[in-house]
């Protein structure tokens, strides 16, 4: 009994600690003078997506899990964190939740296409395939199939698979590189000011 109380107590304390920053953020929003954007009143939303108990706003569980698997395959962790660690699925979900029904539908069509191909070729949904089969499937989509093969043949068949892949990759890429992890990956060192711009320092007329 005592042990159970102890465990419950520690869980509750942990939950309270986890909630504290978001409560503080909520209060600062409530107190902010009107007519300021959240940014102008100093709200830092960068930790919102990592909140414990996060739930998707738009995607269902299967779609969300599929997106996580897909993003991890497209930008895997190397010696730096990948798309999964950058929570790109959560950012994409947030943005989609605010999008037009048409954009939402387009995204789900692309995600559904991957699952459809997976069912057709491997008889299982994409997220349940082996890593090897996932790679095989994506490699097939990653490059456009082009027509009859003769040079100059303009009768290229439309390749919906490639289009869907590109759309998903684009979303994942922009979500990744707009995250803090992604900005660092791009080489941003956290500095904002670049100091005086030196410009061309060659002596007059000497551009070799």
């Amino acid at each position: 009994m005592k042990r159970r109380d102890l465990i419950r107590g520690s869980v509750l304390a942990g939950a309270a600690a986890a909630l504290r920053p978001s409560l503080a953020a909520a209060q600062s929003v409530a107190q902010q003078p009107s007519e300021l954007t959240p940014a102008q009143s100093g709200v830092d939303a960068s930790k919102d997506l990592a909140a414990p108990g996060w739930k998707p706003l738009f995607l269902d569980e299967h779609q969300n899990e599929t997106l996580i698997v897909l993003s991890d395959l497209i930008i895997p962790a190397t010696d730096t964190p990948g798309a999964k660690e950058a929570l790109v699925n959560r950012y994409i979900d947030l943005v989609l939740a605010a999008e037009t029904p048409e954009t939402q539908r387009t995204f789900l069509n692309s995600l559904g296409y991957v699952d459809g191909e997976s069912m057709r070729r491997f008889k299982a949904a994409f997220r349940y395939l082996s890593r090897e089969d996932q790679d095989i499937l994506l490699h097939g989509l990653a490059y456009p199939r082009i027509g009859g093969g003769w040079a100059g043949d303009t009768g290229a068949v439309a390749d919906p698979g490639h289009g869907h892949f590109e759309a998903l990759k684009g979303r994942i890429m922009s979500a990744y590189y707009s995250s803090q992890i992604g900005e660092k990956e791009l080489g941003w060192d956290g500095a904002f000011a670049h100091g005086p711009y030196q410009g061309c320092e060659h002596p007059e007329g000497d551009h070799k």
């Binding site: 005086p196 711009y197 030196q198 410009g199 551009h207």
Partner: protein, 305 residues
Amino acid sequence: MAQDPLQTTYDAVVVGSGATGGWAAKQLGEAGLKVALLEAGRAVSPKEFTEHMPSYKLKYRDHSPEVVRTRPVQKQCYACMEYNYEWFVNDLENPYSTPPGKPFTWQRLRILGGRSLVWGRQSYRLSDNDFKAAGRDGYGDDWPIGYADLAPYYDIVERYVGISGATEGNEMLPDGQFLPPMKMSCGEVQLRARVKAKFGHTVTIGRTAILTQNHNGRLACHYCGPCERGCSTFSYFSSPFTTVKDALASGNCTLLTNAVVSHVDMDTEPNKTRGVTYVDRLTRQVKEVRGKAVILCGRRSAEKR
């Protein structure tokens, strides 16, 4: 100064606190005239500048649906973004119409300083090629003034504002009172040399209201990039921290924020004004400010003239 602004008759009522209104209030106030400066928006504080905030700190990383929903017109300009959209009017609350086939993107701000907070900062002198263009190409009318009439005023403004640029001696773009120019890259130096050699034309660095050295109590630019979110070192020219500040320091200027001017009140005597009527944006009360002269410096008034 403790006088009730609604019981005072001002020498001049200036409507709008942007680039033009700020100058009018400064010049008149410093000359000893009593000025009322009316601004439709609220006051602005450097605390709300966000030029150094990375976009991953924004909930939508600058793809906010709130901006799309409430600023469909304003966001057509890059300067209206998730960082600062509250500076711009809410298009849903401020609709306007244009003649068929003549669309117009009307950028409007509701903040002290107006568009001077988010302007593009490029600053060029017009020349007689502009003022007397009709005489050469036959289109429109020549201006009743020429470059020589305006040049001394350009001098005053440039010395105060701080315009960085290169002196070129080119009659199309008369030289001004420049701070040192920003440097050209190697490629730009090459381009400039080749264009001059092959075509006889001048490629010059942009002339811009951004400081390349400390100037009039403001710091040189630190090249962070997104000026339109505000500048904590005041390195680009915006009226609240320059002309409006000076106008208020003169002791002769009363600033009324949240004052949306609805019309100019005409006197019984023909062609004489007695001031303006405005609506207090927050209380919706209708009030009058009396003045012997009214100077319209707002975008709305400028476009209706």
